[in-house]
């Protein structure tokens, strides 16, 4: 592994590859992460997309990509990546194309596809050792349809299908561990609000072969109910409160790339979002808040032990 070229913020790319003029919401945390990722990955890529918010990034005849794109369906973007990778390998093998014409195959899906409908296809792609990069922008709900809860929705969050006084009763699925349990080449969590950490991880993933998977927590002003200008601040707080651990899995080992010390109370992160407003109203909310904090504390106790 080469030493990272991203040592300081100054080292981040100053020219941005992803085209402007996309239909994503103003302040979209997923787009923030994607444009940072794209700057590192470059345009010799083909993005294979599953149904979600970002499907409309390419809306005929407009695309922000300088490389290629294929929209598949909600469940099978990793299988689309399989078809393209295999076809490129076959073309390379029989010398129908030169190495210069090869592309990095990148799956781009939201959490709805990654945590749910497309999980079987992802599992299959990893088990086949597919050489691809998976980027999940995780806005913790079915954002494109109005933020109903998904397998990525955190405990207590109000969504369009969990409007009750306690919000979502379930717990955010640990996709990082599910992916890591497959023993792929690389798994990481990132966030657009920590661009240096993000750039290093994408850079590392780009240099490796085999299945490489990255989850980008994507603060969502529309679905999480906050003013768009807070996207990066909420992202920073997600890391500083420890609710979104920045980590990577390589060769069977999980390493945390940021240790939030001291950790800020998770209430600081939650209170900025309308979806958690009910946690700050009454006694029940107070209890839930304490539970959420305790779960985060337990997580970090294990990490730091």
């Amino acid at each position: 592994m080469k030493e990272s070229m991203y040592k300081r913020m100054k080292d981040l790319p100053s020219a941005h590859l992803l085209g402007t003029g996309t239909p994503m919401c103003a302040g979209c945390g997923g787009l923030e992460a994607l444009h940072e990722i794209y700057d590192v990955l470059g345009s010799r890529t083909v993005f294979v997309n599953a149904a979600g918010c970002m499907t409309l990034l390419a809306t005929y005849p407009f695309t922000p990509f300088r490389g290629s794109w294929l929209y598949t369906a909600m469940a099978s973007a990793p299988a689309g990546a399989q078809g393209i990778r295999d076809a490129l390998d076959i073309l390379l093998q029989r010398r129908s194309i030169t190495k210069e014409e090869d592309l990095d195959v990148v799956v781009l899906t939201g959490d709805g596809a990654a945590y749910g409908m497309g999980l079987s296809a992802t599992s299959g792609a990893i088990e086949r050792g597919l050489d691809f990069l998976y980027i999940c922008y995780d806005n913790e709900g079915y954002g494109n349809t109005g933020q109903q809860y998904s397998g990525a929705t955190p405990h207590g969050a109000r969504t369009a299908t969990s409007r009750g006084p306690s919000g979502f009763a379930g717990f955010k699925k640990d996709l990082f561990s599910i992916w890591a349990a497959h023993k792929p080449t690389y798994v990481a969590t990132v966030i657009g609000a920590e661009p240096l950490d993000l750039a290093r991880k994408v850079e590392k993933a780009k240099q490796l072969d085999g299945p490489r998977l990255i989850i980008a927590l994507a603060p969502c002003p529309t679905g999480w109910d906050y003013e768009p200008r807070h996207t990066a601040d909420i992202g920073k707080l997600a890391v500083q409160t420890g609710i979104w651990p920045l980590k990577e899995y390589v060769d069977g080992t999980v390493t945390h790339t940021r240790m939030p010390r001291p950790r800020r109370p998770v209430a600081e992160y939650l209170k900025m979002q309308g979806r958690f407003a009910h946690l700050f109203l009454d006694q029940r909310g107070k209890h839930m808040l304490a539970e959420i904090q305790a779960r985060i504390d337990r997580y970090w106790d294990t990490v730091e032990a």
Partner: protein, 415 residues
């Protein structure tokens, strides 16, 4: 050129081998599995160059097939029944991508109740998808149709995926003598796939299968797919003619068996049509002027051809090996729409449902269908649609029902 005993499945595998397919995304399902097992062996032993990859579902398999074709390699895949339905979202989707590849469907009746033997409800569920459909009646046709299908799919005027359909058991597991053409002759008939402008290359950024908003661009793209499918009729005729010129075997869009001077014509698809052919032969021996029409192409639908063949006939009996719940036979509706309002259309169009779940159709039943249709022509009264089902069969089912009930009541008893 060799003549060899091959099952329908092996004939399909040979078709893919002779077409020099680069890539086979696969998923096992009865009664198709033999095809992918055979291809897997051939790739492993180096007889074929390329790659077979088993996906985790048919939905993923068809996605991978479309994506690989979109990248510019020749792709083959195969499925059946529930698998085709599981992948149905992608069947519709990849047609809209305008990517050429060939999918073999080994017809098997659909659940519920789940079963193994064939009828055509699986393949007919793909009727409106934009994938073209070729229906085979014997094992030779399976092999030949694959080669024709690649030419058709990859023709720049068409550029659509094609399904080649063969019936489970009756073809898939049935060995027949099949002529395996010489690879050189096939190469001359079917040159390497040229993806032209639709393909992924680093030097040429390309966004494929892009979303559209608004009914106008959507209508445009959808109708263009329809126009390409219609154009495929003309292209099919050219390709089939070239095939005949090179290999001597004829695979017209509509098979006409003794239709010319027939008064009553049977219309049906698939391998059971060879039974109808035999029945026509016997009827002729008995002095009945019967004939058979078998559409090999269902999409594009050769309506003009069928109309010409059926013009002036006294009666037509459509035998559907499928059932559209609440409507009846699908082919019957298709034929009716082709004939409606024509001055020379046959006055009588009878409808029979038979062969569901592989239920056999006997010679006597064919004779009776012709007889019923002729009587309808004489009387001018068309009988209601008829399910081919005998008293003995019902008696058997009653026995099964009795057992099913007895077992339940036995279980409920105290020991």
């Amino acid at each position: 050129m060799t003549r060899e005993l091959l099952t329908g499945n092996l004939a399909a595998a040979w078709g893919a081998r002779l077409a020099r397919v680069d890539y086979v995304p696969a998923f096992p399902i009865t009664p198709q599995t033999e095809i992918i097992e055979t291809l897997s062996d051939w790739y492993d032993s180096g007889v074929m160059a390329g790659r077979l990859v088993t996906l985790e579902s048919e939905h993923s398999m068809i996605t991978a097939a479309g994506a690989a074709a979109a990248t510019g390699v020749r792709v083959f895949s195969a499925t059946s029944s529930q698998g085709l339905l599981y992948g149905m979202e992608m069947i519709y989707t990849v047609a809209g991508w305008r990517v050429p590849f060939v999918l073999v469907n080994v017809s098997r009746a659909l659940a519920a109740p789940v079963t193994l033997e064939p009828d055509h409800n699986d393949i007919l569920a793909a009727r409106d998808s934009g994938m073209l459909q070729i229906h085979c009646a014997n094992c030779q046709e399976v092999l030949d149709s694959l080669l024709i299908a690649y030419r058709l799919a990859e023709d720049p005027r068409v550029r659509l995926p094609v399904i080649v359909n063969l019936d489970g058991f009756y073809l898939s597991f049935t060995r027949e003598p099949v002529i395996i053409p010489e690879p050189g002759a096939v190469d001359a008939f079917l040159p390497a796939f040229d993806a032209e402008s639709i393909r992924f290359r680093a030097s040429q950024p390309e966004s494929q299968a892009v979303a559209v908003l608004g009914g106008s661009p959507y209508s445009y793209f959808r109708y263009e797919t329809h126009l390409a499918a219609l154009e495929a009729l003309k292209v099919y005729d050219e390709v089939a003619a070239d095939f005949t010129a090179r290999f001597g075997r004829s695979h017209a869009a509509v098979e006409d068996y003794r239709c010319g001077d027939a008064e009553i014509v049977l219309v049906m698809m698939g391998s059971f049509a060879t039974k109808a052919r035999e029945a026509v032969e016997r009827l002729r021996d008995a002095g009945v002027a019967a004939g058979l029409l078998r559409p090999r192409l269902l999409r594009p639908f050769p309506a003009d051809r069928l109309r010409e063949y059926l013009a002036g006939k006294r009666g037509v009996a459509v035998i559907d090996q499928n059932l559209s719940m609440g409507k009846g036979g699908v082919l019957h509706s298709e034929i009716a729409s082709a004939l409606y309002g024509r001055k020379d259309a046959p006055p009588v169009l009878t409808s029979f449902i038979g062969g569901l779940g592989g239920r056999d159709i006997s010679a006597e039943e064919f004779y009776e269908m012709v007889s019923v249709t002729r009587e309808a022509a004489d009387s001018g009264t068309v009988p209601p649609p008829r399910l081919l089902y005998t008293r003995d069969e019902l008696r058997e089912v009653r026995k099964l029902q009795t057992i099913a009930r007895v077992e339940r009541s036995e279980l409920g008893k105290e020991p």
